[in-house]
Subunit: 140 residues, 2 copies
C-alpha cells in the first residue's frame, strides 16, 4: 500500500472522492453531477480517470463505487478538510467561512502537514465541518 502524500489528486477529483464516501455504495453519475454542479459528461470523464487510477470501480451505466484505496484516500480528504476547517475556526472564522475557505486550498495541503496540525491540536474528534476520525492519521 503506497503512502498517501495528500497531493495525488486535483481539487475536483478530491471533491468526487469525498462525495463518493459520503454517499457510500454505488453512486450514479447524475447524483455526482447534481452535487458538483457539472455536466454529466464531465462526471463520466472524471470518473473514468479515477477508475483508471484505481480510486473507483466504474460499471458503465450502473454506477461508481470507491475501491479500498479510494476509500482510504477519501477518508483522508474528509479528515483533512475537517482538520483545516477547525484550525481556521480557531482564528475567528465562522464554520461556514472556514469551510469555504478550506475548500479552495485543501487539495494542496500535504498529509504530513495535516498529521502535525492534527497532533498539535490534540487529535480532536469533533470539528466545525463534521466528525474527525484518526484512522488516516500517521502521528497518533
Amino acid at each position: 500500500m503506497q503512502e498517501i502524500t495528500g497531493l495525488e489528486l486535483s481539487p475536483k477529483k478530491v471533491e468526487y472522492l469525498k462525495f463518493l464516501l459520503k454517499k457510500g455504495d454505488l453512486v450514479k453519475t447524475t447524483d455526482i453531477s447534481n452535487e458538483l454542479h457539472v455536466d454529466p459528461s464531465t462526471t463520466t470523464k472524471t470518473i473514468t480517470d479515477l477508475s483508471e487510477s484505481g480510486y473507483v470501480d466504474h460499471v458503465p451505466y450502473r454506477g461508481v463505487r470507491l475501491t479500498a484505496t479510494g476509500r482510504e484516500y477519501a477518508e483522508f480528504f474528509v479528515n483533512r478538510h475537517n482538520i483545516l476547517s477547525l484550525m481556521l475556526s480557531h482564528y475567528g472564522l465562522s464554520s461556514e467561512e472556514a469551510c469555504s475557505e478550506v475548500s479552495r486550498f485543501e487539495a494542496f495541503v500535504s498529509k504530513s502537514a495535516i498529521d502535525r496540525i492534527c497532533g498539535s491540536m490534540g487529535h480532536p474528534t469533533v470539528g466545525v465541518c463534521g466528525k474527525i476520525k484518526h484512522s488516516s492519521c500517521s502521528s497518533l
Copy 2:
C-alpha cells in the same frame, strides 16, 4: 482603488509579483527566469499578461517593474505567505516545512481570511519567513 480579494492571480503570477517586489526597480527577464526556473519565453509571456492586467510595466528588452497596484498586491502576497507560514509553524512545522507547505496553497487563501488570522495572532511583526508588515491588513 479596487479591493484585494487575494484570489485575483494564479499561483505562478503571485510568485512573479513577490519576486519583483523583492528585487525592486527594473528587473530583467533572465533574473525572473533563473529565480522561477522557467524558460525566458515563459517569463516574457507571463509578464505580458501581468502588464495587460495592470500589475507591472513592461518595457520590451529593458525590463519589468511593479505598478502601484502591482506593488500593493505584491506586498499583500508576501504578507500572506508570512502570516500563513507563521500560523503553520505554531502547529509544529519547521520554518522550512511551513514555508514550502504554504507555497503550494497560498494563492488560494483570501485576504479576508488572512486579515482574521493576522488579527487573531495579534498582528505579529516577525514571522518565520520574514518580517510582517500590516499596511495591507484591513483589520488593524
